[in-house]
Symmetry: C2
């Protein structure tokens, strides 16, 4: 049959253009991880820790490919290159360690590697006894072309490359020449200088926020400064807090956090136990911010002066404590902004200000700031400048109150612009709401997030929740902070568990959480509730409380132990490094935290039942070290410092909540090898 000419006349400029567009990026790079919302938001990492990037990378045909991770500081032009390696089914991985608390940009490149492909093919053919004379000639051609075109590698490498053709030509016969070309050092030379044929680049450059270490590793202690007088009849001062620093520092905490320290409104001031009418002398809720004495950039006069505050910040630092302040945007009806900026608030048809409500509930002691309409952008700038005001007084950590009731866009802009100037500022989102809302706050920039940990009590709940937080995509941008209680949350579990329950929740929070927190009174096992609610009776939000800090039955030693272990064991300074192992009892949670190199391998066993002793057989994870089931392993009990040896994988434990509701062991697998 003869050929018929095609009558297609599509071969026009349009074609040449479209084929050029489609023709690029022959090597496929996709499914890069981390990548938050297709690059819309930055991933997060911590300075000095490995930042791991993975991607699916492959090409048509059978040629060898190679790939690299590119990273640069967002404010610098030069890319640093980190090699990537295939580890599974077209999945490649590269690791960068980034030292600066700064914003970075990263992407992935990949290319076809002709020399490696040639080498593979020749090795196979040679093994099969096939003549490879032509292949040798092809390699020589490739070398000549590489010398002419390549633009990578050190000058020493380039010189070595240029000498190579001569070296080959000087040898006699196919076999010696091939031996020379197949040497490992030539492969490495070509890796450094060789052509990157069909170089592809991932279409997006992705953002990365590298925070300082505290972002991922911090133990918080929350207290109301006004209660630090230890006398419910006298308003505490910053000096009283300074006197309490040795106590907090002695417990081993890193961050000392205060609810708002600003002037408190008089209008509609709340009384004790959140009553709508206050008695004379009632201090009011510190969340009703603003009075004739000032707003968010003022200090409640009874606490002290700015000088006192500055002294407190310095004294805390001397005690190894960093002060965190509350950023709560609502205003009391007495806040100066209401007169200065009436257009930042909502007004009703009768000329009254619109207070906060959740119908039919009313919150007459606070009004919300508007973010759009006439308040935009002046209110945004003013609020951001409030944060900067405190930053410049030395405060670098903010716990943000109810961020989910303010626009996500505001937080994204605010955090971004503050961190542009002060990358070391940390924001903790206090949002207890729907999962996607909490995740969005983390995406828009919050450094840490309150979590559902406070309500996860059973083995199934904890395992499922921790697995999500440490394995699902949210691990790339959300860092939970595991608070055991807050002034707003007196968990049902603790209301009935007694002291053992406090010890259990403490070890879970401090052991599982990179970040965790305690609101004062927890260490004293306070739990008197408003009947039937997860609220504290006589809440400190509405009155000054005096405590007996040495009260019998306190758990201060448990807290100090955990905080000491956290500081001495690198495995406890990470979050996504948890593994759950088998202990055959649904009341015993048994897990490990480990460094990537497994040189710090800490096991926790926690009896979740605060009433009864529980026992279980359990598996010592010998396989993690490549050890057989019948091997012996040296172990250190981290509670009492004793050393012993487990013989074999299956062991037995008994945990009595009235003695030791938990055990903590360090595995020392190769002690014999190194001793």
């Amino acid at each position: 049959m003869t050929r018929r000419s095609s009558d297609n006349a599509l071969m026009v400029a349009h074609d040449e253009e479209s084929v050029a567009t489609f023709g690029a990026n022959r090597v496929v790079i996709e499914a890069v991880s981390p990548e938050v919302e297709a690059g819309r938001f930055p991933a997060k990492s911590v300075a000095g820790q490995p930042f791991t990037v993975e991607a699916d990378i492959f090409c048509d045909g059978h040629e060898r490919i190679d790939a690299a991770l590119l990273v640069r500081r967002a404010d610098e032009a030069d890319w640093r290159e980190f090699p990537m390696a295939l580890f599974d089914n077209d999945r490649w991985r590269g690791i960068a360690v980034l030292d600066d608390n700064a914003r970075y940009t990263y992407t992935v490149i990949a290319w076809r590697d002709f020399f490696a492909s040639w080498r593979d093919e020749v090795v196979k053919k040679r093994a099969a006894g096939v003549d490879v004379g032509l292949e040798l000639a092809e390699a020589r051609d490739l070398l000549v072309r590489t010398i002419a075109e390549a633009d990578r590698g050190s000058s020493a490498d380039r010189k070595r490359l240029e000498a190579l053709v001569g070296e080959i030509d000087a040898l006699q016969g196919v076999a010696p020449r091939l031996d020379h070309l197949l040497a490992a050092d030539i492969l490495e030379l070509m890796r450094c200088t060789g052509l990157r044929t069909d170089l592809s680049r991932y279409p997006r450059e992705l953002a990365l926020t590298v925070d300082r270490k505290t972002a991922g590793f911090s133990a918080w202690y929350e207290l109301f400064p006004r209660s630090m007088s230890d006398d419910s009849g006298r308003h505490g001062t910053f000096d009283d807090v300074i006197a309490k620093l040795p106590y907090v520092s002695g417990l081993g905490f890193d961050v000392l956090y205060f609810p708002p320290i600003h002037p408190i409104g008089q209008a509609f001031r709340k009384g004790r136990n959140n009553t709508t009418t206050s008695e004379p002398g009632d201090p009011g809720s510190p969340y009703a911010i603003g009075s004739a004495e000032g707003g968010h950039d003022a200090i409640h006069p009874e606490l002290g002066t700015f000088d006192d505050f500055t002294r407190l910040v310095a004294a805390a630092r001397d005690h190894g404590l960093e002060i965190a302040l509350d950023f709560a945007i609502q205003c009391s009806p007495d806040h100066p902004w209401i007169k200065e900026h009436p257009d930042w608030f909502d007004w009703r048809p009768d000329g009254t200000i619109k207070y906060a409500e959740n119908p039919p509930k009313k919150y007459q002691d606070i009004v919300n700031v508007r973010f759009y309409g006439d308040a935009f952008p002046a209110a945004w700038l003013a609020l951001r400048d409030i944060v900067l005001f405190w930053v410049e007084l030395g405060i670098k950590i903010f716990r943000v109150d109810n961020p989910h009731t303010k626009p996500f866009s505001f937080w994204e802009w605010m955090i971004h612009t503050v961190q542009e100037k002060y990358p070391d500022v940390i924001f903790l989102a206090e949002a207890f709401t729907r999962p996607k809302v909490m995740k969005r706050l983390a995406k828009v920039g919050f450094t840490q997030s309150y979590s559902y940990f406070t309500w996860r009590n059973t083995k199934a709940e904890l395992t499922e929740y921790l697995t999500e937080l440490t394995q699902a995509p949210c691990r790339d941008y959300m860092r939970p902070n595991f608070f055991v209680n807050t002034p707003d949350i007196n968990p049902f579990f603790l209301q009935t568990s007694g002291r053992p329950g406090f010890r259990i929740r403490q070890v879970l929070a401090a052991g599982l959480g990179g970040n965790y927190g305690v609101y004062s009174g927890f260490e004293l096992c306070e739990s008197a509730p408003v009947a039937g609610k997860e609220e504290y009776l006589d809440s400190e939000k509405y009155e000054i409380k005096a405590r007996d800090w040495g009260r019998a039955g306190n758990i201060r030693s448990d807290i100090a132990l955990m905080n000491r272990l956290r500081h001495t064991h690198p495995a406890l300074q990470l979050f996504t490094n948890v593994s759950f192992y088998n202990a055959w009892n649904d009341d015993i949670l048994y897990f490990a935290k480990t460094t990537p190199a497994k040189d710090d391998f800490i096991l926790f066993a926690v009896n979740l039942d605060p009433y009864n002793a529980q026992e279980a057989d359990f598996e010592v994870p010998l396989w993690e070290f490549g050890m057989p089931d019948e091997a012996s392993i040296a172990t250190e009990d981290l509670i009492n410092g004793e050393r012993f040896t487990w013989h074999g994988k299956i062991q037995h434990m008994r945990l009595d909540p009235h003695q030791n509701p938990y055990a903590i062991w360090r595995l020392i697998p190769f002690e014999g090898d190194t001793a």
Copy 2:
């Protein structure tokens, strides 16, 4: 404490600019599905079928929000709007039915709905006995503002809206006015005309390929035209194929697919059973394309002329069959292109052409086309024009040979430009390779994909694989075609299963697959292998085969039954609509296919064991119709047409592979209601 002035001087132009950038899109729209690789590739749908889009949509605070799906033809400017509704945890869903075989664009918008928010709040306050006089005044203000600003709704709606304020004012007292405003028709009026406050738009416009129905619903029959003489001594012709059309059509197939019909090379022609030397008279592999008689745009002379071919295409159409051709890019060393376009091929240092190899294996009868270097873009254009050449001869379906050994970019460009002119052209990717490579081919545009179905035999394998294909993200862009065998694949299962195994695989492929395929001989239970391999002995790729089409023990009636049921039952024309139910026997696969409305609900039970009868209790999925476990349900046996009633959820079945290895039932849940 007095206020201190901030010394921050960041409030500059930079701020105003950044705040404006961040301030937009208050309502969050994220996690839109389908979205293939962040919008890099189109999703796929079928004309006339519902296209469902989901997204996470939420906003700060408690205001009511609303959302819509926007869709337009890619070649038109006007968007069509489809309402979205919340169905789960901040997840919204909208459904569009698109009628054209064309490319579309879609995205999502969302906004805050002040009127709905106001209505919610007032209803709650009224129920709580709170005075709502001010709320009424606020609603009137909102109406006035809506009339002034709104630009949506029909002119009748706008008139109704403008009249509303007067209607309200004419009523006396708060209660009657509120009653009027809270009426359902006012809510609907405001939905059509009301303000869309803080309108957000998803940042990406996503592409959608809407294919014709055959893309998702087709039964393929593959035959070698040269074997259609039914005489191994005579080369078959297109006229012989025409004579065979009643046979194929009688089996109920939709697509008749031929391996390459082009001239076959003489150089290094393969002999019978893939030997490297051919005997005189050996026809050679049709995949060694091209000879002195022409290349990819010519017809092998022994098959007939272009006129014969055109007659065949028309005759097939008269029999309800659409012809599919093979698009195999490799060339025999005799292909005209090798002389005409030497720069489209690789040459070795000794001047010989580089044939295909997979070291140490050599394929001297074929050479591969280059796609880059001097071949770019001329070879791309030429190959695309080959496809267009056959399209213009009436061929709209191509099975593409080994696409994974050619650049993905080429396929993306080729399919895109062909479908720009001919959106009804269908491409099936014949790639049996790594999962990500197969998925990428589907992403770049292949309409259908060969699959691993051929090697999925057990209940666990089939359940897992079908769950992935129908539930994982690949469901949005990959349409598998379940071939039971091919000229290259004689599955081990069929080599030993006997006739029952062929019946089992047939009902699985036709029942599970929207698209499925059979290579001729399957219906005759042919399975003689090359010993130890999944290859056919005396492969038809290298010789002309004559068959006894009426051979005893054939399964033609099974095939005809399944194809008839596929054409009469809408549930069998979809793919992602499979559900697996409980039958307590690991050898019995028990599943349903159903329409979204469940008005066509087909149950399959397949005994996967071709040797032994298997029985099992199983669950009739009464709960799918809201029926209690003890309900009765009318059922039709689709194999014999008999009707009966199941009483209660648990029933029992027995499937003897030598009688009926499978059962097919239609549930008729509400027969009593409608009769």
